[in-house]
């Protein structure tokens, strides 16, 4: 009886999920086979949208850029783990740094994007000004590919490391103190402790962060939209490609086909994660 009541409580949330997440997601699969026209009715075109997609060089450029963007994942993981290790002990200073490092996470993305666009502005921005002080040639932070993709990565890392650092801190908090103390008594130095105790104990957290940050990297959009909207399609990533076709050109069928490919890609990462976690639990 008690267990049945639980399902009733879950029902509203489950219905919301069905109507606002699963159903629209399934519709995208259907739309990807249509020439979608809201005014004159839809036409079934079979796999035409997919063949058009795979023969578009801009799609492959976007696909490549999305994969390149995955570079942010290891950088974010290493940086946030290092910072978490540095400020894991509770003290006044560590509380200050926790707040400081978390600040970019709570900064709205549009504001962060505009600020970084000013910083990277090629004639008037801070970055090139600092480089000029050191007599280093000016860098085309926004106009030139692939430098502009690197600029977006810097923004993504700046916005993300505080969040992952917090997850690492939570993971570090549950590592038994005795393990590290025992290793210290046995003569292990800090690096050995990280290598033999902390990393193995943090494996579930590492996997979780790997999946979250890599799927976020594949889904990157707003940063590009704010910072480099005017660069060519070949400088953009998959979600931007989808946005352009679906919401600027209103080719919803074609945009849906791009959406399905992104879904398959992110699903791939999720499956890898589940497999790895299963292996971990065995």
């Amino acid at each position: 009886m008690k267990s049945k009541a639980v399902y009733w409580f879950l029902l509203p949330a489950f219905l919301m999920l069905i109507f606002f997440a699963f159903f629209p997601a399934l519709q995208v699969f259907y739309y990807s086979f249509l020439d979608y026209n809201v005014f004159n009715g839809n036409t079934f075109v079979g796999l035409q949208n997919y063949s058009k997609l795979f023969s578009d060089p801009n799609f492959w450029d976007a696909f490549k850029n999305s994969l390149i963007f995955l570079i942010v994942t290891p950088v974010l993981m290493i940086l946030s783990l290092m910072l978490a290790l540095m400020i894991r002990e509770k003290s006044g200073t560590s509380s200050f740094f926790r707040s400081l490092f978390f600040l970019p996470v709570v900064t709205p993305i549009v504001i962060a994007g505009i600020i970084w666009r000013w910083i990277f502005a090629e004639d008037t921005g801070l970055m090139n000004y600092l480089l000029s002080l050191a007599s280093i040639p000016q860098v085309p932070w926004l106009t030139n590919y692939p430098v502009n993709l690197g600029s977006i990565m810097i923004l993504t890392i700046w916005r993300g490391f505080g969040y992952y650092m917090m997850i690492f801190l939570a993971g570090l908090a549950i590592i038994p103190k005795e393990l590290e103390e025992a290793s210290r008594l046995d003569g292990a130095n800090k690096l050995q402790q990280i290598h033999h105790i902390i990393i193995p104990e943090l494996k579930p957290t590492l996997l979780l962060i790997f999946v979250i940050s890599s799927t976020n990297a594949i889904k990157i959009f707003t940063e590009l939209y704010i910072m480099i909207p005017g660069t060519p399609a070949s400088n953009k990533t998959l979600v931007y490609y989808l946005y352009k076709h679906a919401f600027e050109r209103f080719d919803f069928g074609f945009g849906s086909a791009a959406g399905v490919i992104i879904f398959i890609l992110t699903l791939g990462f999720s499956i890898i994660n589940v497999k790895l976690l299963d292996k971990e639990n065995v």
């Binding site: 005014f39 004639d123 926004l142 106009t143 005017g230 060519p232 209103f250």
Partner: protein, 421 residues
């Protein structure tokens, strides 16, 4: 108690049906505008009230939508079967909706005499393959907005201001040489204004039937290359190849550049955002090519084909666009009416000494010579054409291809797109 409850319930049901009956009697026209609220709230309230009094049985529901989300909202409404009856569209949106076969042809609903109200060039902006899918509403053209202090500091006088595109290039070079700063911000690689320059120089980008692109031929290549070389020489801001058209005023109002070549309507934004810069701002006639023609930007009014009240929607559109209402509209913000009678009003020639008035007089004087110079914007696939052109300019400006090579590639892309339609 139970009886009272049942009685109240029954009354409620009866009244609710009565309400439905009332609504059925009235014809509701839903009218969408692009980002005109709150400035025009009072204007529309009084206009709608007057229309409803003159047309009993018709109710107008005005909804203002943000410009950036306009098409998305319209598409979402169309997908839900809830499109407005009358909609305000810009030229590029008009082309997009023409491609979707969503708008009525006014020629089938409006007499020749009524169409004679409008400026011919403005009507041309709304004509696609002989179909008049919109009626022109408020218009705008370009003026040169400049910072008087900066011009003086660079050793120039106001009489030295450029009047032609060639003079603008020379002026920019001299200004940068004298100050180490940028004279002008002009988008050349994103929402590029170079097609406007080509149009004013009488160089066409496509053949007259819109079937073949020709901007890789020498007349266009020579003119475009002048701007590419200007960019490469560091005389233009580097972001001018990737900044969208909507950002054109920002470098001017933040004091980064001395001039901007855009619509007089932007003066208000400078006044609000940068009063210090506004205090030293001047306006001059727009820069033109050898034809002397100016760009005409037109907002239009369209009626959707799936409106349930097309006749009422057309009647409301004509009421909105009559000379009296257009003149009232133009007096609220610096725009120009599309009907000849309103444009002939003394308001467009009277000078009260303010900057806005000066811009208004210049604009009104220029308007008869203004036409849609960026003709490719009248093509339903204008956005794909624009992207291909913009990418060619970026490629050439960044030295990834010569101007000729980049334009050859763009022409090839254009021809493929033009062939599809």
């Amino acid at each position: 108690m139970k009886k009272i409850f049942v009685a109240i319930l029954l009354l409620g049901v009866i009244f609710s049906f009565a309400g439905c009956g009332g609504k059925e009697d009235k014809k509701v026209i839903e009218f969408w505008t692009l980002q005109l609220s709150p400035t025009f709230n009072d204007y529309f309230k009084s206009l709608i009230k007057e229309f409803e009094q003159k047309n009993p049985g018709t109710v107008v529901k005005w909804i203002d939508i943000p410009f950036d989300a306009a098409i998305q909202k319209l598409m979402a409404a169309a997908a839900a079967g809830q499109t407005p009856d009358v909609v305000n569209l810009s030229s590029d949106f008009l082309a997009k909706f023409y491609g979707m076969n969503a708008l009525i042809d006014f020629k089938t609903k409006v007499s020749e005499d009524t169409l004679a109200w409008f400026l011919e060039s403005a009507l041309q902006n709304c004509t696609f393959e002989g179909k008049l899918i919109g009626l022109p509403w408020y218009l705008n053209t370009y003026v040169l907005i400049y910072n008087t202090e900066y011009i003086k500091q660079a050793g120039f006088d106001e009489k030295d201001l450029p009047a032609t595109f060639d003079e603008l290039i020379d002026f920019s070079k001299q200004y940068t040489k004298a100050t180490g700063k940028f004279a002008l911000f002009w988008n050349i690689g994103k929402d590029s204004y170079l097609p406007m320059m080509l149009g004013s120089e009488d160089v066409q980008m496509m053949d007259s039937a819109f079937t073949k692109a020709i901007f890789n031929l020498p007349p266009a290549v020579v003119l475009i290359d002048k701007w590419i070389q200007l960019y490469k020489a560091g005389v233009m801001q580097r972001e001018s190849i990737i900044s969208p058209g909507s950002s054109i005023i920002e470098p001017f109002q933040s004091g980064q550049v001395a001039m901007v070549f855009t619509g007089p309507v932007f003066l208000k934004r400078v006044k609000e955002n940068a009063p210090g810069i506004y205090a030293g701002t001047g306006v001059a006639p727009a820069v033109v090519g050898k034809t002397g023609k100016h760009e005409l930007a037109a907002m239009s009014i369209s009626v959707l084909k799936n409106s349930r009240n097309i006749d009422e929607a057309v009647r409301f559109s004509l009421f909105l666009l009559n000379a009296v209402n257009q003149l009232k509209f133009s007096k609220i913000e610096t725009t120009f009416p599309s009907v000849k009678e309103a444009l002939a009003d003394s308001y467009f020639t009277s000078d009260d000494g303010s900057l806005e008035t000066k811009a208004k007089i210049i604009g009104a004087r220029e308007l008869p010579a203004a036409v849609r110079l960026q003709k490719y914007l009248l093509h339903p696939q204008f956005d794909r054409l624009r992207d291909a052109f913009d990418e060619a300019i970026q490629k050439a400006a960044l030295g990834k291809a010569s101007t000729q090579q980049a334009l050859d590639e763009a022409v090839e892309k254009w021809n493929k797109i033009l062939e599809e339609n």
